[in-house]
Amino acid sequence: MLKKEGEIRIPSGCAISGIINRSGQCSINGSEIVKSISYMHDRSNGLGGGFAGYGIYPEYADQYAFHVFYDDMSAREETERYLDRTFEMVNLSRIPTRKHPRIKNEPQIWRYFVNPIFTVLQEDQDEIDEKKFIVETVFYINTYIKGAYIFSSGKNMGVFKAVGFPEDVGEFYRLEEYDGYSWTAHGRYPTNTPGWWGGAHPFALLDYSIVHNGEISSYDANRRFIEMFDYKCTLQTDTEVITYIIDYLNRKQGLNFEDIAKIIAAPFWEEIERLPEAEAKRIKLFRNTFASLLITGPFSIILGFDGGLMALNDRLKLRSMVVGEKDNIVYLASEECAIRGICPDIENVWAPQGGEPIIIRVGK
């Protein structure tokens, strides 16, 4: 019998794409990113596609937006009962979709805009860590409520994913009805057929979302390290563990994305030796402290976060990735065709080096 994602580790190849408006204006329509990823059709095999949009919920910008897959009614009832205890629900609805000939077996897909409620005691004692609370809620529901899976949990951002080719998934979710300041997309080419929607990408936690192309050889070293810090790698995917690593380094360790890139795609020792002394000392300390968070094997990732995108390749550049610019818009993709297809007069197209992070922050 075929095992579901999470019961077995499934390697996959992929296509990724990202667009961001540096000015921060929510000028990019969802159809743009759908078109971009469609040019890389052959890099997916119809077993997973998805998108993440930032700035797409201006009317609920201060609420956490939970996107949830339910297998059945009882999972939904149990989840809503659980959420009801600790969250104020500002809005809840099914996520609008359209019938699509090539998207089948859809679960119930719901969206909740919520505010966490803290007890008076917690507020008095000033011990509220809101993000930690959200992460714990997500882990609880995904682990303990059978048939429920929260796949998006950030503010003013959302993930849309399904089993299918990415362009079909985009049409299914009616992404042309959303405008954002940045988007990422993923087309999946898994080497097994789990057919589970939760296994599609992007993978997201809080406002971090990751699309990833590659198969990391360091997976179990990374997983067994990060699980010491209260993360549970239930999906056994690279994307999941990379997301947790970034959450750990950024949110818990307080490191910026430039430093995170130097940890997960660390320079080689021989490069470090050639650096100026202070910089060498800094990177040596990073590599030393977070040795088990070095990611090896091929990867190209686009990390979405509140206010920006980061693109990063493994340090040997074993996966393709190109960047292009036109006016205020920056394009990132596995292949140049995905950029030229939507921006024929693109300027400054280049391939970042292995381990060289491309970080774009809006308003900067």
Partner: protein, 501 residues
């Protein structure tokens, strides 16, 4: 005279046509097996003294010699095998405890041989170490759990005391006294050339070897032989020896005849007096006592050296390791029951302790479950026989390995397992000057460096095959391992899947 019940174990086969009677075998054999019969102009052998060390075989210029196991057998008995019977005869003769050297030769399961390594195909490219950088540098010691920055984003944190190694292989503890000065010199020079460390063992540090301090781990054992302030500060790290895989729960005993002038000076004990290391440290009867010794040593070295605590792999090793990790140790060294020794009671060597593979898997997982894996490094030893064993150990969760027996083999040891007699024909486990000088420390160092750098190349090849280009991404990466012919319980302890899964 009493009847000797035991027939000699070996036969010396001398091809008379080849023998030129040069008498090299006679000169080479400290056991006095060979002799020349003037009257009949021929070489003779007393095979009852032969230990099958292969020295004469290796040095015979005409290859006229070979040693063969005798085919003289007692009556077949599956229960009472020949060795069991002979051990009874021996004890009935002497009334003594049986002694043995080196690791147990018994046929216990070897789990390294039941573990297979992964490689990349299609979805992920293998990496060629001859074309791409391939990193095997490791740091041993406590890792920081949180980095501190000042308001300008400048790092305030410093790397805690650690050992930096170019490759995850060190030479394990063998004391000066149990092995010769030239063996120690070989190890020290090789460690320096390789960018790794050797370990003094419990016999102190010979004055001539202080210059190799940066590549030396100095040991403090229950006898405290040769321990003083300069000694503690001479090395890259200090190791507290609580136990040894070949003889858990047992101390050590270096006979007085091995305590000659130089050994006596190094150990700080009189010439000719037995050096007895007690079974426990008499200031450590519990875990809180260990903490005091760790911090005494750190005080004595200004908190600049990492402290290793070495234990034997015993049944509750995971809980013991957890206690050590919480006691201020920076590195835990675990020695498996197949590990070598210069002398141990046979019954202990062959029956006490557990295989290092299981101990490592249990300790690494326990420290992770308790979220303290970052507080210590794990070094394991006890029969690492090849680079593949090293790769498997690191993928199970070790930071580095100790090799002892493999290093001695590189120096010429043929595992005759009679170190305790002090008549090592290879100049390794002896203090007899004529024998010691047979081991040239420059050649010895070269052979050790050859061995370890060959292993390191092989490690890089295997890492590259897995698509891993730095050793830290291999550490604890159990997904790269599969079991073959293991029970479900064994797989569970190792935390790996069976081949085919």
């Amino acid at each position: 005279m009493a009847i000797n019940f035991i027939h000699p174990e070996f036969e010396i086969i001398r091809e008379e046509k080849r023998c030129i009677k040069c008498r090299a075998c006679e000169r080479q054999c400290a056991n006095e097996v060979h002799s020349y019969d003037q009257e009949f102009d021929c070489m003779e052998s007393d095979e009852s003294k032969c230990v099958d060390c292969q020295r004469c075989v290796s040095l015979c210029p005409t290859r006229a010699l070979k040693i063969r196991k005798t085919d003289n057998r007692y009556r077949e008995n599956a229960n009472w095998q020949q060795q069991a019977m002979e051990e009874i005869f021996r004890q009935a003769d002497t009334g003594g405890v049986l002694l043995s050297s080196m690791g147990t030769p018994k046929d216990y399961p070897n789990y390294w041989d039941k573990i297979l390594i992964n490689a990349s195909q299609v979805t992920n490219p293998p990496i060629d170490p001859l074309r791409e950088p391939m990193e095997t540098k490791v740091f041993l010691g406590k890792k920081l759990n949180k980095l501190e920055f000042d308001e300008n984003g400048e790092l305030l944190s410093e790397i805690p005391p650690q050992i930096e190694l170019e490759m995850p292989i060190m030479f394990s503890a063998m004391s000066y006294g149990s092995i010769s000065e030239n063996a120690h010199k070989s190890l020290a020079r090789a460690a320096t050339e390789l960018g790794t460390c050797y370990n003094t063992g419990e016999g102190g540090l010979n004055q001539d070897l202080y210059k190799y301090g940066a590549n030396t781990i100095v040991q403090v054992a229950s006898g405290r032989f040769g321990v003083h302030k300069d000694y503690l500060n001479a090395g890259a790290a200090i190791e507290i020896k609580m136990g040894q895989g070949a003889k858990p729960g047992i101390g050590g005993h270096l006979p007085g005849r091995k305590i000659l002038e130089k050994v006596s000076r190094t150990r700080m004990i009189p010439v000719g007096v037995d050096a007895i290391s007690p079974a426990p440290h008499h200031d450590i009867y519990s875990i809180e006592d260990l903490r005091q010794l760790i911090f005494s040593l750190k005080e004595a070295t200004n908190y600049e050296k990492p402290v290793i605590v070495k234990i034997a792999a015993v049944h509750n090793v995971a809980a013991i390791a957890s206690g050590i990790a919480r006691s201020g140790a920076d590195i835990i060294a675990i020695d498996g029951f197949r590990g070598g020794t210069g002398a141990a009671p046979t019954r202990i060597r062959d029956n006490v302790g557990i295989p290092i593979e299981l101990a490592l898997a249990a300790v690494d997982q326990r420290l992770r479950d308790e979220k303290i894996r970052n507080d210590v490094s794990i070094v394991i030893g006890g029969s690492i026989r090849s680079s593949a064993d090293v790769v498997k150990a690191i993928a199970l969760g070790a930071d580095a390995v100790y090799i002892g027996t493999a290093a001695l083999l590189a120096l010429g040891c043929h595992l005759c397992r009679t170190c305790h007699t002090g008549k090592c024909n290879w100049g390794i486990a002896t203090q007899r000057e004529d024998l010691v000088k047979r081991l040239n420390p420059d050649i010895g160092a070269k052979r050790l460096a050859n061995l370890v750098s060959a292993w390191n190349h092989e490690i890089m090849e295997m890492m590259g095959g897995m698509g891993i280009n730095s050793i830290e991404a291999l550490k604890g990466n159990r997904l790269m391992l599969r079991g073959i012919g293991m029970s479900a319980k064994e797989l569970e302890i190792f935390g790996i899947s069976h081949a085919g899964e």
